[in-house]
Symmetry: C2
Subunit: 336 residues, 2 copies
DNA sequence: CTGAAAGCGCTAACAG
DNA sequence: CTGTTAGCGCTTTCAG
């Protein structure tokens, strides 16, 4: 039916005004529901607008009002299963409040992260949510962002003096350690991940402080299954073998399960294992993993709310929120 | 250090021009590297621009040029592990070519999907990538989109007459069936998922045609572990028990493994199982799953390229691409 | 309450 | 090659 394929140009305010027989200004005011307009005329404009299928051009509005109604979200790696849930929550929340979201994935590269933030600023975002790659190296980027637009750090902290919404990692590890003690395990080992990431570093630090474990029982690597397997194998060379292996995420925990299985040790009878994140994998592995469920929805909700509040009033006091996580007990620590 | 917190207003072209001692137009031309400008002046402008830290306001540029350099991407559900990879690939590709990406998650709701598309159009996106919720119910939305901006359907098809980049599901299922035949299994059952999704429907249809399996051996539900378990249990009530259970994704396959385990049947000796998607879960389950690896990177790459091509020339012939998937053989079909 | 007009920052047409 | 000017579509003074 279309004469020339795609793209008949969109209906403009001018056309709506003409259709309604009023000036552009009046049409604009009517659609903005700003009050100061004769109800009858407002009605005419509304009808005309619907008849023509008018939709405001947000680019023009953004230029005029210096407000784009779009915010940026920078994540370190979307394929890390923790982030899609957070992103989904944030995206939904913001959209319900009329804010669009430009997503940027930094691929764990600090340099790329910095460039992404610059580009988002060029696009005129009204605010920025960022989960940084590196607690140290990303500081500069966060500072740059905060001088330009309201910015909220999510899950990972780089600059302590700016808005942050994350999880109480220390408390989470404390719950795990407590649970293991309660079930009679006292010699604990820890498989830690990338200390460049604040959340991971906090877990390591918390474990060290809470258990006073010796260096031999704390291995630090990355977030992969392979690393969990390697680290666990190393623990198994020590005597006595630890009674439980606490892991910084579910993947490393699965790796630990594999290593224990190979070595002919039973879980949880001989050695208990715990994960972190409560991904699908935790419920599927055998035995299913005791793990920590982070309050992903809350995280997204509060991050979005904090950003909105800061956009509304850039002068508000800096918020630093630590949400409680929750241990989920499954077969890897307690017999069925 | 900042006087008033955030937001000193950005450097504008006017200021760069003043600093360089040229007109705004010349400054603009110099920065656009459009040639027609005295090299010496161009140099002056460049210096001034760097000195002031000028960055073009893309909102203004978008309004003027009627081109936003931003495209929209609508996904049905970001927590489906298939999509983050595709999104990441698309985002990276587009960004390298200077295009930003607004992400929208439809939460599997057709109504929301339609609204998202409208909003993306309001934001002046230059093009749209969409993976639809429903092969039938989403048609209207895709048609609406295509009349306004270049649009490419990704992975899931709704309107056959428009651009589409997906996977050859039939060939994928054929590979699985062939592999099972080659390993001596002939009585096959299928755990299918949501026929509202074109990709899932194609898998079901392919299985039916390729095997001529009776209705009893084809169960259709959703994508969950629970559904895989239920469906497999049902198959186990039939005699003879199927020699292999082909599943529409890895999660349902894990459910099938659980059901078989419960029933005391060995995998792969008594019954073979296959998954689909090659998610992490497939390599972790025990036994690890034979599954199908979809060409996620290719998918993202070609989708992005197709969109770019259509934006550059809206008149190009409609592309409908089917990429080949690849079977990954693991322990669930072949003894170690 | 309504309309005319300015202008957000940029680029492109048009003179010079 | 350079500068002046118009204008993208919208909102918001400023007059009336």
């Amino acid at each position: 039916m279309n004469v020339k394929g795609a793209g008949r140009s969109r209906v403009t305010m001018r056309e709506v005004a003409a259709e309604a027989g009023v000036s552009i200004a009046t049409a604009s005011r009517a659609l903005a529901e700003s009050g100061r307009v004769n109800p009858e005329m407002a009605q005419r404009v509304l009808l005309a607008s619907e008849k023509l299928g008018y939709r405001a051009n947000r680019v023009a509005r953004a230029l005029r009002q210096q407000v784009s109604q779009v915010v940026g979200l920078v994540v370190p790696d979307l394929t890390n299963p923790f982030f899609p849930k957070v992103v989904q929550e944030i995206e939904g929340r913001l959209r319900r409040e009329g804010l669009g979201l430009i997503l940027a994935d930094a691929r764990d590269e600090v340099a790329e992260e910095a460039e992404l933030v610059r580009e988002l600023l060029d696009h005129g975002v009204d605010g920025l949510l960022i989960s940084v790659c590196d607690r140290i190296a990303s500081r500069h980027t966060v500072r740059m962002a905060t001088t330009q637009v309201p910015t909220v750090q999510v899950d990972r902290l780089a600059v302590a003096s700016q808005h942050f919404v994350g999880v109480d990692q220390r408390d989470a590890i404390a719950q795990v350690v407590q649970h293991l003690h309660d079930t009679g395990r006292s010699r604990l080992a820890f498989v830690g991940s990338s200390p460049k990431i604040s959340a991971a570093a906090e877990r390591i630090e918390a474990f060290r402080e809470l258990t006073g474990a010796p260096a031999k029982l704390i291995e630090i690597g990355d977030f992969s299954v392979a690393w969990g397997r390697d680290a666990a194998r190393r623990f198994l060379t020590h005597r006595p073998v630890p009674e439980a292996i606490v892991c910084a995420n579910d993947l490393t925990a699965v790796g630990a399960l594999q290593a224990l299985h190979e070595a002919g040790l039973r879980v949880p009878e001989d050695v208990a294992v715990t994960g972190f994140d409560d991904t699908l994998i935790a419920s599927i592995s055998s035995p299913p993993l005791t793990t920590v469920r982070q309050p992903v929805q809350e995280l997204g909700r509060i991050a979005a709310a904090t950003l909105r509040a800061t956009i509304a009033d850039p002068g508000i006091a800096v918020r630093s929120v630590r949400l409680p996580a929750e241990i989920v007990v499954r077969g890897s620590t307690s017999a069925r």
